[in-house]
């Protein structure tokens, strides 16, 4: 030891020496991280005691002393004293698809695959073929709705084609009037040619309806009633619909809230604050019991659509606040520079402000999605069968009754895995954004 302090080195020749104390090793790690101060010793001992009390019991119940096979509760009990996972195994299909007809379940699977492809494409910036996937994502909600509900595929295809043509034409011009006119003309033509034609005003003369799409049945899928939807599939439907439709709506609301037109601004403020001020449950009650009061007599939607509408409105208010945060983070100089270059309001929003604002808000958007996804469990109070609803319904089965812990734990783990993954992703994005700013 004394040797190293006494040795003299030529200038520039000093080797790097190990430090005189230990920096590695289990004992040292333990000392530094668990027992550095008296308080820490107490805390560590408490934590170890807690783990000792809880972990073995939980593992015993859920794994080592659990039954994985069996046809009813008593068979489980006969095998082991802990959890009875056989129940979950038997009901797994139900938990996933609800009561969706077995022969048609490939449609659910296909939609799910499309969903995964779209999300990967949207969330992963350097994904190969990203342009195509983004195009696919625009069509996805409609395609998925068709796949899940079924019906005449040609009709949907034609409708989508009309919308695509209209959009393509709209993006050619930047004047608002032009866009509105083109949109109206396209809608009119589509109605005139394909969708039943037009009844001339003040007369009974019916023209158009040149092509009756009901004659083309080669793309038909058998219809499945939405009453049969349930399980994790329903959770995903509610979450994804909520996010897909609430994002554009939320952007409009956020822009409206920032507008300098008082009427537009306060309308948006009132809407946003109203929705954020009441619990989702009350909105769902409204959807289930009284939405039809506000519609013209005789109009009815099925419950799922009503719920989806409400969930979308609900999410859009939260989305608006998230987007507003992003808009406020975009420097004022950006709009000024766009103004100075002669860009008008909408182009300057679309090309300059929104791309930056949305990029900043992606983590918060993901978090809103997580919230919505978790909130989708609330639909059980109005009788839809999400996984929790399926679980509770299954508990009524006398063969299996009393297995509440298993059901709740299973559903909890499902939600935990998916939400935690999304939360990690949003955290990763946030870190990336922050390091990006430092540069």
């Amino acid at each position: 030891m004394s040797e190293s302090t006494q040795t003299k080195y030529e200038p520039g020749q000093h080797p790097s020496l190990p430090p005189p104390f230990k920096t590695r090793g289990v004992a040292l790690w333990l000392k530094e991280n668990l027992f550095s101060t008296p308080t820490n010793v107490v805390l560590s001992l408490l934590a170890i005691y807690f783990l000792y009390k809880v972990v073995p019991g939980v593992l015993e119940w859920s794994l080592f002393d659990a039954a994985f096979t069996g046809n009813d509760r008593n068979e489980c009990r006969a095998q082991a004293g802990g959890a009875c996972w056989a129940f979950i195994g038997e009901r797994l299909q139900l938990f996933t698809y609800g009561f969706y007809p077995e022969a048609e379940r490939w449609r659910v699977n296909l939609s799910f695959v499309l969903l995964v492809v779209c999300s990967v494409g949207l969330l992963w910036e350097n994904c190969p073929g990203r342009k195509w996937i983004i195009a696919l994502s625009v069509v996805f909600p409609f395609a998925a709705a068709f796949l899940l509900v079924g019906g005449n595929g040609v009709k949907l295809f034609v409708a989508l084609a009309c919308v695509a043509v209209a959009l393509a034409l709209m993006f050619r011009g930047s004047s608002t009037t032009f866009v509105i006119v083109i949109g109206a003309v396209c809608a009119f033509l589509a109605k005139f040619i394909f969708f039943g034609g037009i009844t001339l005003p003040f007369t009974d003369i019916h023209v158009g309806g040149i092509i009756d799409l009901d004659d083309y049945t080669f793309l038909n899928l058998p219809e499945v009633s939405t009453d049969l939807f349930g399980g994790f599939m329903l959770t995903l439907i509610i979450g994804v619909t909520g996010i897909v439709f609430s994002l554009p709506l939320g952007i409009l609301l956020a822009l409206g809230r920032q507008s300098n037109l008082p009427i537009v601004k306060y309308a948006c403020v009132v809407f946003i604050e109203f929705i954020r001020g009441v619990p989702l449950i009350t909105l769902l009650f409204v959807a289930s019991t009284m939405l039809s009061y506000f519609l013209p007599p005789g109009t009815t939607f099925n419950l799922l659509i009503r719920v989806l509408i409400m969930v979308t409105l609900f999410a859009s208010a939260y989305m608006a606040e998230v987007v507003r945060g992003g808009l406020q983070a975009v420097h004022k100089g950006q709009t000024e520079a766009a103004d100075a270059l002669g860009l008008k309001y909408w182009p300057s929003m679309r090309l300059i402000v929104l791309p930056q604002a949305l990029k900043i808000s992606i983590p918060a958007i993901v978090n809103t999605f997580i919230g919505l996804y978790k909130d989708s469990t609330l639909v059980i109070v109005i009788g839809l069968l999400d996984p929790l609803g399926i679980g509770r319904a299954s508990l009524a089965d006398t063969k299996w009754n009393g297995l509440t812990n298993e059901v709740y734990l299973f559903v909890a783990i499902f939600f935990f895995i998916s939400c935690y993954a999304m939360a990690r992703y949003s955290l990763y994005l946030e870190n990336k954004l922050h390091t990006g700013h430092k540069r």
Binding site: S174, H331, G333, Q334, E336, A337, A338, D339, A340, L341, G342, L343, K344, P347, L351, I352, P355, Q356, K359, R439
Partner: protein, 260 residues
Amino acid sequence: MNDSTNNVSATGRALGESTIQIRNMHKWYGEFHVLRDINLDVKSGERIVVCGPSGSGKSTMIRCINRLEEHQQGDIIVDNVELTNDLKNIEAVRREVGMVFQHFNLFPHLTVLENCTLAPIWVRKQPKAEAEAIAMKYLERVKIPDQALKYPGQLSGGQQQRVAIARSLCMSPKVMLFDEPTSALDPEMIKEVLDVMIELAEEGMTMICVTHEMGFAKTVADRVIFMDEGQIIEENEPDQFFNNPQSERTQLFLSQILAH
């Protein structure tokens, strides 16, 4: 305002018609009277430097010229178009007037080239290829064609400001406004930006430039305007302005600036 200003600049170049005319212009921020009775006439090809103490309303004045700020009284006429509430006029003026900001205000999510082609494509409705060719031409003029595909965040301050100048030039403006284009830059970067501005001036661009670079004012300006408390205090040829300032406030200001 003396109408007798002849159409020859201080440097002896022939000047064209009036491009910008500001008459009896007033502006308020709420109760605060920022600009008081501004009168200014800028001929085409003229180079004007505006200086004055901080908060005197220089930025506000030139931002009124492309209506980033609204004036409440008086007239502003740019390239024969009067700035009123008429959106068509505002659009027309903004098409013809370029502006360079103190903090560049480049669009961080677009590449340098996209920054330059954005307005030509969306405002002038040029085809993309043509817009890109023009953009490259101007990027060459500001000496950074090799940075075209980078993002603004990857450039130095001086490079960013030159991109901002190129971005404005791509709209082939008749007038360029500069709001302290060099005050956020390090000394060596200031030079590269000033060089570009001097070159631009020599090509006959009409310019209004808020700056405290007195060297630039002396060599380039046809006229120097001194503002204080929202008023134009003094307006003169650079020689006269620096060597023989008329008002006391100008003298004080100059002595403070030149003391450094």
